[in-house]
Amino acid sequence: MRKVVCPYCFQRFQLRDVGFRCLAQLTGQRTNVRCEIGLDQPLATYIGSPGPANLGPVFSADGSKRKATCPNCGVETYTRVCPTCHNDLPPDFGQIGTRIIALIGAKESGKSTYITVLIRELRHRVGSAFGASVEAMDDRTIRTYKGRFEDVLYRQHVMLPTTQPASVDTNYPLLYRFSSKHRGLVRTHTRSSSLVLFDTAGEDLQDRESIDTHVRYLKEAHGIVLLIDPLQIDAIRELVGADVTVPLKDTPPDEIVTNITQLIRSARGMKADARIRTPIAVAFSKIDALWPLVPPGSRLQQRSDHAGAFDERDRTELNDEIESLLDKWEGGLLSRHLEQHYSHYGFFGLSSLGAAPIAAAVPAHGISPFRVEDPVLWLLAKTKIIPSRRPRP
């Protein structure tokens, strides 16, 4: 039986172990019993509050089926829940593949802004280029994305507020279904996968007490996007000059990567010489700040074009160029670490806004995303969700 991962608590379990929740709304005709609403302790523990966990009882049945009959009241239910955290699972959970894309990064690396822009780009421009659709898989994702991200950035045109650490604020992952058409020899078919994106706070990777969920998130991830603020690299801070407002000095990128590697290794119980097979996309955000520093014609100044398939040649050239620049700026520490610990890694450069914000507001010309989709598309191509164009030999 296939194992699956809960998109909320990231616990792995057999599909048949998926639980069902009686909605406690109807009285069973056969039993003349109506289930009572009570406190679902596992869910209350997950949420950190009893209120939303006042629900009908969870019962065991064959989780590989889409419905089950409550053994108490005899009423059918289609609501499936994670056997560990008791969160409601998306309707097609287990029916389509799940790709957990872990988005991590240091404080102020622009994760929230990136996720806001990325989803919008995937849904509109990139989706159109791939003939793909990206749809939210639950109401919570729709509400959260709209209320906390999209409205602020695209309607109020102001920068997103600082993401609060998970220890002070409960955070649910965003769940999307990525469906794309694939042309086979005989017919065209649709390939779907769910994408789990989790907006973490930078502090969450510093506070070991609060990273339990994040460790599982990283452990179960099918791909990792690590956002790094290039302005945390000392050499760049010096090179950009006074025109660019540099952030407060924080943990250097190589230390961040080292910490994350340690987290993944310990979570997976890996041997010291084994390499992590999960592909990691190390993406330098706010790359627009570096444009003056790179030579004309640099891939870092050119938009990518992945129409129909991921452009592997472009990625390879970009990766090589960034590796070369890193070698110059920080002595290749990052490259060497990744080479040593990861089977698949790639460097990316992106800018969520296309320019630096001004006084905590989006740039005057609006939001002009630059290469934001590259890391995620690379990870999707790696797992064969989307096709890729191979570089010519």
């Binding site: 102001v158 506070d207 407060l248 905590a360």
Partner: protein, 815 residues
Amino acid sequence: MTIEQMYYTSCVQGLGSSPGFQFNAVSEGLDLAVLPEVQGFIGYEPPLSAPAQPTDAELERFPIALSYATLPQGAAILGQTRYVGTDYSGRYGNFFAHVLYMRDPSHDLGSLYPIDLWRSRAWVNGEAASPALPAIAGPLSASSIPTEELVAFLDSDSRRRQQLEAFLAAVRENLGADGRRQIVLVEASSDDIARWIAIASYSLPPPLARALTFTTYTRRPYYDKQRIVGTTADAEFHYSVNELNDQYVVFDFAGDRFSPKQEDDWAKLAAGLWSDGSVELLGDCHEFVADSGMYLTEGELAGVLAAFTAAKGHQLSERLVSVALSWAKQNSQFRNDAFWYALGRSLERSLDDMSFELLSQLAQEWQRRRDQAMAAPFVGAYLRRAVEHLATGGPSEGLWAPRAGAAQLELRSRDVLEVLSRPETGLVACQRILAWLDRCDIHLNDETLARLGEMRVGPEVLAGRESPTELVTLVQSRSGEAIGQGVLTSLEAGVGASPADFAQVVRLTRGPLGPWLSSLEHGLSRPLRLAIAVGRPQSAEGDRIAVLDVLLGYLEKKLGARSPADSAEAGADLRWACELIWATSGFSATEAIGILRVVPDLTLVSSGLLPALVDIVLDAPVITKRIVELAERLHEIAAQANVGREKVAVLGAVADFVRLPGPGTLPSREVLVDATAIAEAAAAADRPVAGSVLQAISEWAIGLPPADHATALKALLGEASGPFFEAYRGTAGQLPDRDDSGWARVVAERFCAWLALGETNPKVANALLRDVLAPTLRSARRRDRAEVERRVMALGQDAWSAWEQWAGTSRWRLR
């Protein structure tokens, strides 16, 4: 005990390793292990509708989150979180939380309620210069939110008044149900939320208020674990039906959405105090509780508040007084005589309006407390009401039975008798009242009870308005014995009153009263003994006659005295007895014979009774032998007594009996046989009646159509012997006059009947044809004979053929 402080914000320097959200400073000595737990209560997200980049003036208007939470090991935190806009990097989304950590909240808060620190000047809103903060020496000091302000707040919106009770009910429910259904308050400002929380807190005794966790503001109520969660109209909350009904208790004053109200005694009472200007009673009550050293659970709130306010003379609903008493009974260790005295004196004023249940509780409580002075009015009133309660059908199960003692004086016999004598007080109720009085050791005197039995119970049973079964139950109780005596007196009177009453008494003896009366039989009066005898079922017929024998033996003895006075009395008694028996249940045929057998002289039997006895005998099925016995007995009596009048009457009755059905109706063979058997028996005994009976039968048979005539004759002649034949032949020979137009028809019909009789009785038929028909035909004129033949021909081909044969072969040669 000291109170430790914590500052939390997004800052460059703090307890964390790098800039960002972290504890900016904490008190020295604070156990850092509590920090992760504290973080769960201090997050802040600005309202969705708030400006994204507010000015300082706008920041002032952002809701303030005053949060109070309890932690494991009895600790608690109280903190204020305010939105401060930007952080060190200029990014918005920063807040500042100042948190107090209290290891022993009851000490550290002192007399304060957590909500008293709303907008306290003690709260800090800026980063500390040093990561080490001083600890604060407890207890804290602050000023409460003035009650007048809270009352004005409630008055400012009628919906607040309307929802107050429901809100307090939700608070109590939440305190009792491990906070499962959180309370979501939606108001325009966090100040209003704080006022609601103050109202809830001030309504609770401090120990319970310290369990009432809250936050005055959160944007997402789903993720806060406090019992009361305040929020704004633009909160991320869906107000779904499930949320309103099952998951939360919602009071949305901004959107006018409220969860269904739960009934709660404490909430009703406390809300009433907030509404009627008696709110200071809440505080007084809490002081009283504290002074008494009580630790209340939320389940006891209603009881203690009700008891306290009642003792203060506050008018309470009956339900609340009952709640107060229930609480008092469960807290027997609580001895505060002054309190009880005040409560008692307060409640004593409304004894008359008090429900029986409540009165019972009060009376028991004071008697339990052995306070006779307080107990007397309550127990006395209780006794009276208990009797009324039982009289009106109230259940006696579980009804408290005080060992009344002095209070017995409060319950006068005539009061009870008055209740018992009411027609609407059924026997069941009477029985329950007496049994309950027994349990109370209260006894009514026997004379009173006997009077009750005679004047009320007996007549009711006789009149059929009360069930005899219940009477039996009643008389078998301790007090019921005396009532039973009264009932017997009543029944005796009924026996002599009228045949109808006697009949009712007899019916009663046949029913459930039988065993009881039988058990008393030797002590019963003669009329009642007779009634019992009469009432015995038919299966015990012999017994009944035996009783009659006893009675008649007694009469005989009297008659034996031969004194004229005794004889007259005995005769009167016998007549009376027989008439009553007759009127009550009648006799069986055997009894009738039995009576007639033992009656020494028919003069002792009234003229009306004798024919009735005869009728009984004659009406009985299969009575031949008995009729004969009767006839013999009557004949004997008649001969012996030489009273022709009765004899004639008996014989007339027998004749009436054999008066057979009219022409055209053929009786059953049994009837015919009976009739002839009676007649022949009478004839054999040379009874004068025989002739007339046989004559009547003969006439009847002759009057039948030819076929039926033959059938009747076949039956009668098959069984009967000579006397009937003789009688018949005599009757049949009496033909109409030859000149009569009916002569030819009668001759033709008899011919046919006798012809048919010849199939079974050829000799008899031939004799009849020969001796009766042939002579008359022979002497008839030719045309008369022709008329006969024409009539025979009209009766059918078979009849004509038989006629031709008979006439042709007859030696009289009719042709």
